[in-house]
C-alpha cells in the first residue's frame, strides 16, 4: 500500500490524480515551476517542491530533479499524468531503478507502443486489423510509392515519432507523393527530432473510436468500452462521448476483444487506450495505443462508475483488478467538452490573462475536471487546456441537453475560451443527430464559426448598453482620480489632433 505519491504533472490532471489519492488515504506531493507557485495543484497538495523555471524543459520535463524530489519526500510512487514524462521510457526505467513505483505500464510496453512503426509491426503479428500501409519507416521513396499505389490513393503520410497532426500529409496522387514525403519528414524532424515517416491507407469517413483497457500484474486484462473522439480540430480532440453513436453491440464486442488482444500483445500493465479508426463500412483498424491515462478518461468513468486512477494505483500496488469483464456495465451516456484558453473566433490563438470571474457549472450529472480559480493568471507557458466539462445523463439526448445547459452556465471572464465553440458543436444538427466522422469540423467549420460571430438585436443592445455604462463609469472614476478621459477617448483626441495638423 502506497503512503505517498508524487504527481509529476500540473494543471487539471494533477488535481484529478490527487483527488483519488486522497480518497485512498494517500498523501500527495506536487512539483512546481516558477510560473506555478500559486497554481491549483500546489495549493491542493500536501507537499510541494520547486523544481525549476517556467519552461517545461527546465521543470516538468527535468526528470532527474523530479526523481530527487521523489526520494527526498520519501514518495512510494510517481504518477506521471498525461503529457510531459508520461510516455518517457527512460524516466519510467530510472524511476523503477530508484526503487520507486512508476504508475504506468512497464518501460517495454511504452517503448513498443510509443513508436508507431514498431507498434504496427507488433500488431501485424496479432489478429487485430491494422490500416494497410508500409511496415517500416520510408527510406526509399520509390519503394514507398509502389506500396502507396498498391494500397490505392489517397494515402496518408504520418510521423513515426509523434502525433498531434505534425508531420502528417494526405496525398491524392502519385505525382504529389515525393514532395509530400519530403515535407512530412522535415516537419517531423523539427517537431519530434525524428524525421522518420510511414504511409497508410487513407480511410473514407473515418471515425476515431478508442477503447479503454486496464490490465493488472496477474495477467488479467479487460476493456471498459469505447469513447467516440471524432470531433477534432487541428488534430486535437474537442468533444468526446461514450457510447459512440456510430458502433453497434456486435462491433463493440469485436473491437473490445481486439483492444484486449492489443494490450496482451505488449504485456501491458495499467490503464491504456487502444485507438481505432472505423471507416464508413464499419471496418475497424488499429491506429495506436496510448500507454497512459487519457485526457478523456472521465467519459468512461461516468458511464461505468469506475475510478480509473484508483484502478491504476491498485494495479501499481500489485493488486488484481477490482472487477472482471462480465462486471463491466455501461449506464447512460457521457459527453466531455474540452475547455481551452483559446480564442475560437480568431483561429484558436491561445489566450492569456487573469480570470476576472469564474462560474463553474455544477448540479446533477455535471463534473468539471479543471485547475482554475477566480483571480488566477493563465500563463503562456503550458498547454492551454483549462479543464474538461463532463456531463452524464440517462441517454445521449439528455446528456447533450445537460452539456448545453452546463456550457451556458459556464462563465470565465478575462480570457477567451472554447466554451462557446463547444456550444456551437453540441448545438449543430449533424452532431445532435450523430453519427459524425473526423471530417465534422472541416465540413462544418464555417457554420460553427458563423454562429460565433452573429448576435441578435437584443444581444447587441445589451452589449452596447453595458459597454456604454462601463465606459461612462471608467471615465468618471478616472476623472475623479485626476486623469483625463478614457484611453479610448484620448486616442480619438490624438487622432483628431493629427488630422488638424
Amino acid at each position: 500500500m502506497f503512503k505517498k505519491i508524487l504527481i509529476a504533472n500540473r494543471g487539471e490532471i494533477a488535481l484529478r490524480v490527487m483527488r483519488t489519492c486522497r480518497e485512498m488515504g494517500i498523501e500527495v506531493v506536487a512539483v512546481y515551476s516558477a510560473a506555478d507557485r500559486t497554481a491549483p495543484h500546489v495549493l491542493f497538495a500536501d507537499e510541494a517542491y520547486f523544481i525549476g523555471s517556467a519552461a517545461s524543459s527546465d521543470s516538468y520535463l527535468k526528470y532527474e530533479k523530479i526523481l530527487e524530489v521523489a526520494q527526498a519526500s520519501h514518495s512510494d510512487a510517481i504518477h506521471p499524468g498525461y503529457g510531459f514524462l508520461s510516455e518517457n521510457t527512460e524516466f519510467a526505467q530510472k524511476v523503477s531503478e530508484a526503487g520507486i513505483v512508476f504508475i504506468g505500464p512497464p518501460a517495454d510496453a511504452i517503448k513498443t507502443m510509443g513508436d508507431k512503426t514498431m507498434a504496427r509491426q507488433s500488431m501485424l503479428l496479432t489478429d487485430v486489423p491494422v490500416v494497410p500501409g508500409t511496415e517500416d519507416p520510408i527510406e526509399d521513396v520509390e519503394k514507398a510509392l509502389s506500396v502507396a499505389k498498391e494500397i490505392g490513393f489517397p494515402v496518408l503520410i504520418k510521423a513515426a515519432g509523434g502525433g498531434g497532426g505534425k508531420g502528417m500529409r494526405i496525398v491524392d496522387s502519385a505525382e504529389a507523393f515525393e514532395s509530400a514525403v519530403g515535407k512530412a519528414q522535415r516537419e517531423s524532424q523539427s517537431a519530434f527530432g525524428d524525421g522518420r515517416v510511414y504511409i497508410e491507407k487513407y480511410l473514407e469517413e473515418p471515425h476515431h473510436i478508442e477503447f479503454q483497457v486496464i490490465a493488472d500484474t496477474h495477467g488479467n486484462v479487460i476493456h471498459l468500452n469505447e469513447r467516440e473522439c471524432s470531433i477534432q480540430r487541428r488534430y486535437q480532440k474537442v468533444i468526446e462521448e461514450s457510447p459512440s453513436p456510430f458502433i453497434h453491440a456486435e462491433l463493440r464486442e469485436q473491437m473490445g476483444k481486439a483492444a484486449v488482444e492489443t494490450a496482451r500483445s505488449c504485456n501491458y500493465v495499467g490503464a491504456g487506450t487502444v485507438e481505432f479508426l472505423v471507416d464508413k463500412y464499419k471496418h475497424f483498424y488499429f491506429l495506436e495505443m496510448n500507454t497512459r491515462l487519457q485526457v478523456e478518461h472521465p467519459v468512461t468513468e461516468m458511464v461505468t462508475g469506475i475510478d480509473l486512477v484508483a484502478e491504476q494505483i491498485r494495479i501499481a500496488e500489485g493488486k488484481p483488478l477490482s472487477l472482471k469483464q462480465s462486471d463491466v456495465s455501461v449506464s447512460g451516456h457521457a459527453v466531455e467538452c474540452r475547455i481551452y484558453a483559446e480564442d475560437a473566433a480568431n483561429d484558436f490563438v491561445p489566450s492569456t490573462g487573469t480570470i476576472s470571474m469564474l462560474q463553474i457549472p455544477d448540479g446533477p450529472g455535471t463534473r468539471f475536471d479543471g485547475a482554475i480559480r477566480q483571480g488566477m493568471e493563465v500563463t503562456p507557458y503550458y498547454d492551454p487546456m483549462l479543464g474538461k466539462l463532463i456531463c452524464w445523463a440517462k441517454d445521449r439526448d439528455s446528456a447533450l441537453n445537460r452539456s448545453e445547459r452546463a456550457l451556458r452556465e459556464f462563465y470565465i471572464g478575462g480570457i477567451e475560451t472554447t466554451i462557446q465553440f463547444c456550444r456551437s458543436v453540441i448545438g449543430h444538427p449533424q452532431f445532435r443527430q450523430g453519427p459524425y466522422d473526423t471530417h465534422f469540423y472541416a465540413l462544418h467549420k464555417e457554420e460553427l464559426h458563423t454562429e460565433l460571430s452573429t448576435a441578435t438585436d437584443e444581444v447587441m443592445l445589451v452589449a452596447g448598453g453595458t459597454l456604454h455604462t462601463h465606459q461612462d463609469r471608467m471615465k468618471h472614476s478616472s476623472q475623479k482620480a485626476g486623469a483625463g478621459e478614457s484611453s479610448r477617448s484620448n486616442w480619438v483626441s490624438a487622432q483628431m489632433g493629427r488630422q488638424k495638423q
Binding site: S56, A341, D343, A345, N346, D347, V349, P350, S351, T352, G353, S356, M357, Q359, Q374, P380, Y381, Y382, D383, P384, L407, R408, E409, F410, Y411, G413, G414, I415, E416, I419, Q420, R423, L452, S453, T454, A455, D457, E458, V459, M460, L461, V462, A463, G464, G465, T466, L467, H468, T469, H470, Q471, D472, R473, R488, V492, Q495, M496, Q499
Partner: protein, 166 residues
C-alpha cells in the same frame, strides 16, 4: 445621445439616456430600460426589460463583449465617431488594421517578410510560440511593411507592437 452599435455586418442606431443609475435605450421601434451592476471588475449583471444577462466588457481585444458566455465583436460609435465617418474618415478601422501587435505573450520564432515588402491580406507575417503551440499570424490588410519592431528569438509581452503595414 446618439450611438451606433456594430457587430459584424449588423448595425443598430440607438439613443442612450442615463437616468437614476439606469440606461434608457431608444431605438426606432422600442424603448428599453437597462440596469448594469458590476459584480467583478469588468463583469456586469445586466437586467434589460426584465431579461437577465451576464456581460463581460474587459475581455481580450477591445472590441469584444461577452454576453452570457458568448463572445461577440462589438463596436460602439459615439457622435464624434459618427461625424468623422460622415466626413469620409473611417480612422478607427484603418489604424487598427495596419498595426499588428502580439495578442499573446510568447516567443517570436519566425518573421517571414522584411520592411518594404508588399503584403497581400492573408499573407503569413510571423510565428509566435505560446502554450506549446506555434501560431501563424496573417496580415489583416494589404499594403507595404513600414516597420518591424521585434526580431526572431525575441520574447514579447501581450500587446507588443510587431509589424506595421501602411
Amino acid at each position: 445621445m446618439k450611438y451606433e452599435i456594430n457587430s459584424g455586418a449588423h448595425s443598430l442606431q440607438v439613443d442612450f439616456q442615463s437616468e437614476a443609475g439606469r440606461l434608457i435605450i431608444n431605438t426606432d421601434d422600442a424603448s428599453l430600460n437597462l440596469e448594469a451592476v458590476e459584480v467583478q471588475p469588468g463583469v456586469y449583471s445586466v437586467i434589460m426589460n426584465n431579461r437577465s444577462f451576464v456581460v463581460g466588457v474587459a475581455c481580450n481585444g477591445e472590441n469584444r463583449v461577452n454576453v452570457n458566455g458568448t463572445p461577440i465583436s462589438l463596436e460602439l460609435l459615439d457622435a464624434v465617431h459618427l461625424h468623422l465617418r460622415e466626413l469620409g474618415w473611417d480612422s478607427l478601422k484603418e489604424v487598427k488594421a495596419g498595426l499588428i501587435s502580439a495578442q499573446i505573450p510568447g516567443l517570436i520564432t519566425k518573421i517571414f517578410r522584411g520592411v518594404g515588402d508588399e503584403i497581400v491580406e492573408g499573407d503569413p507575417l510571423f510565428l509566435i510560440e505560446a502554450m506549446k503551440m506555434e501560431n501563424e499570424i496573417k496580415a489583416p490588410v494589404s499594403g507595404i511593411i513600414q516597420k518591424i519592431s521585434v526580431s526572431e528569438g525575441q520574447t514579447v509581452e501581450k500587446g507588443t507592437n510587431i509589424i506595421e503595414i501602411g
